[in-house]
Symmetry: C2
């Protein structure tokens, strides 16, 4: 039984878990107000999962079918996200500009900026997706913070140690620059470690302040991972080359 | 009614569309073999939508709950994706390295590499997500290719024209370099146009060759958008500065 104020995703989860055909809705005194049928539930699940997909893709719900949607509507729904993400990337540009000296001295460092962004972002999103899924199924909560941190520390150390020599070899094959390859190999271990911990923590705190972590975590994690990853990369470069 | 060989997602879609409680399964002669009940369908939808989310996040299904999963299993499931994406980014590094001359002459170009990657990628994924959704609901098919291209041409021209002056102002505020800001403003219009057309076409062709476009399109579109976007950016730089 659920109360009238219950979130539709929560009600859907109950019906799905217990294979119900109908879920009674009752008021505080236990009086029957109506029922949620199983086909309502399917509609909710289909709608919500579609919305979650769209949110991950940094776009907004377009109510009309694609071919019928007005061009200006499509632009309006998409432009805000793009401008917001541009704004963040201008901050990233500002961070990189503060390492101008080391970049001019070793131009090859710039070649691997996309690799650092994308590996950090992908790795962080992997962790946050696993944690978001754990939150959604009710397996994880804020109390598991320490256990998640311990687990991710070990997973990301291993990931870093596997990827690092591989990256060293590849980057050396492209640039023939030993120091750049050493910087990459060192930086990637630190980046994967830091970004994975962040990807594990962020959904928990976003959920804690009452926001659905599936809504914002992927773009948020990717962007923060970008900034953190590049900062670590260029700091390692300054330490190694300076 | 469905046949025994019908895909479970397809069967789930029929039940959802017609609000059925049961869907009979019949053989070729119309003999009743059994029925799919509505709670089977909910299980399928929940499972498939969770899998789609994981695929978008470039990770693989972890069968055990997060806290119970073995560390080595988590590493194994994640490392392959990270190495594959690293490999592609090494190709991107190679592309950037071919523009070494223009980058050394104007270091500030390097500051905006993440912005170009991310704006191209985000914009392309927006388009591909809209098209994938259209394919999933059955609204779009390969026959709509031309209509999608026409629509995306208009949407992306508008998007480019809105974002370009905004980006010009922001980048000038960060670098005080007029030519770099002009290059960015020009390049972003071309990049959004090309990448959106690609994001619209790619899911159609992936679906055509029999692969579920939701499975691979997001990482694929982002990565291809990276390579295309940066190539356009540096080509514009060479044309403007050379």
């Amino acid at each position: 039984m659920v109360k009238p104020g219950t979130d539709q995703e929560e009600a859907a989860r109950i019906v799905a878990r217990y294979d119900l055909i109908e879920l009674p809705v009752v008021d505080d005194k236990g009086k029957l107000l109506g029922a949620i049928t199983v086909d309502d539930v399917i509609d909710v699940i289909v709608k919500e999962s579609g919305e979650d997909l769209l949110k991950l893709a940094a776009t907004v719900k377009v109510t009309a079918p694609y071919l019928a949607a007005k061009i200006t509507d499509l632009v309006k729904k998409r432009v805000l996200w793009l401008i917001m993400l541009c704004l963040v990337e201008v901050v990233v540009a500002f961070i990189i500009s503060s390492f101008e000296k080391v970049i001019s001295a070793t131009i090859a460092l710039a070649f691997f900026i996309p690799l650092i962004s994308s590996t950090g972002g992908n790795s962080g999103v992997q962790t946050s997706t696993l944690v978001i899924r754990g939150l959604a199924t009710g397996e994880l909560s804020l109390r598991d913070l320490l256990r998640i941190l311990v687990k991710e520390s070990m997973v990301s150390t291993l990931l870093g140690l596997v990827i690092s020599p591989f990256l060293f070899a590849l980057s050396f094959a492209v640039t023939f620059q030993l120091w750049v390859s050493i910087i990459l190999a060192l930086a990637i271990i630190i980046i994967i470690f830091v970004v994975n911990l962040m990807g594990g923590i962020m959904p928990l705190f976003v959920a804690k302040i009452g926001i659905d972590p599936a809504t914002i975590s992927a773009p948020l994690v990717t962007t923060v991972a970008d900034a953190i990853g590049l900062t670590i990369y260029f700091l390692v470069a300054v330490l190694v080359l300076g």
